[in-house]
Symmetry: C2
């Protein structure tokens, strides 16, 4: 937490495992108190950009309820209760793509909302990704699997074809981290 | 929206201009209905990475309530009622940095949450940024202004010093877009 002090917190809405809303009483460094600061709790998540040993990116073209039309997307999903982020990333890569990877690069763990919290997103680059099983995803959305070159992925990113903030972050970080390693 | 159909929506929590929570009844393409899909509405926002004509990045080091410790950050803020995203980006750059820019590159408008919506973040790169006034921000947080080289910014990004998902997305996209233009 910041040097802002949480004086108290109460639950305004306990919807489900997908959403709790709290209201915090917060004291600022200058002594002011804001007593109705909304705070949102949704499940933490992972996103993974899998890259094969011949430098192809394994991605989806899919729908999501909040997104207009189709979007390109990395692998992703919620952490299960008590699950370590890296384990969740490896589990999702196996479930959604049927893949394992040789080397995992943690690109960062980022808060989704500066003021409301919302969730922590753990972003990964999975190197040496390779098919080891049939995909077995329980996702509600239909997904098309794609295998794109690095140039195609960068073009798509700059062309706004990854339509979610954490997906754009994950792909941008993956491209920069890959080039830094060369 | 996706091919998922919103059958009905009702407000569960009307907190303030900062937060409304709805519950949607949603029909999936295969005919299944989910009648308690939570949907979060918070203000849309802009983030801006300002770069000077000699290729220095104007950034903040600051606190945010949801973030542990200090973070590097681009310019950012909420859209005002009815405001165009580009106008909000230009207003925030002037208020927070006292700067105007010669050229504005729209890096994308991204949803924050794939399932819950949450907000749309409009991300910009502002080229030829220059001081034209004294900063006059009404932000609650204390901010330190920084002027970093492109290499310093990339190092900080890969070192996880931008601790928010949209900030990492904005900086990553800005670096890739800058290089593409050369």
């Amino acid at each position: 937490m910041s040097s802002w002090k949480t004086l108290s917190r109460r639950i305004l809405l306990s919807h489900s495992k997908y959403l709790t809303v709290e209201e915090h009483s917060v004291e600022l460094p200058d002594g002011r108190v804001i007593d109705n600061w909304p705070w949102i709790i949704t499940p933490d998540f992972v996103n993974v950009v899998p890259v094969t040993s011949d430098n192809h990116f394994l991605l989806f073209r899919q729908e999501k309820y909040a997104i207009d039309g189709l979007s390109l997307a990395p692998v992703g999903g919620y952490l299960e209760a008590g699950e370590e982020p890296l384990h969740a990333a490896q589990r999702e890569l196996l479930e959604e793509m049927g893949c394992a990877a040789d080397e995992w690069v943690h690109l960062g763990s980022f808060k989704a909302g500066a003021n409301r919290g919302i969730a922590t997103g753990h972003l990964y680059l999975a190197l040496g990704a390779q098919r080891v099983a049939e995909p077995d995803s329980d996702d509600l959305e239909e997904q098309e699997r794609l295998c794109l070159s690095e140039r195609e992925v960068e073009d798509a990113l700059l062309n706004k074809e990854f339509k979610l903030v954490p997906w754009a972050a994950n792909v941008g970080l993956a491209l920069l981290a890959l080039r830094r390693r060369r």
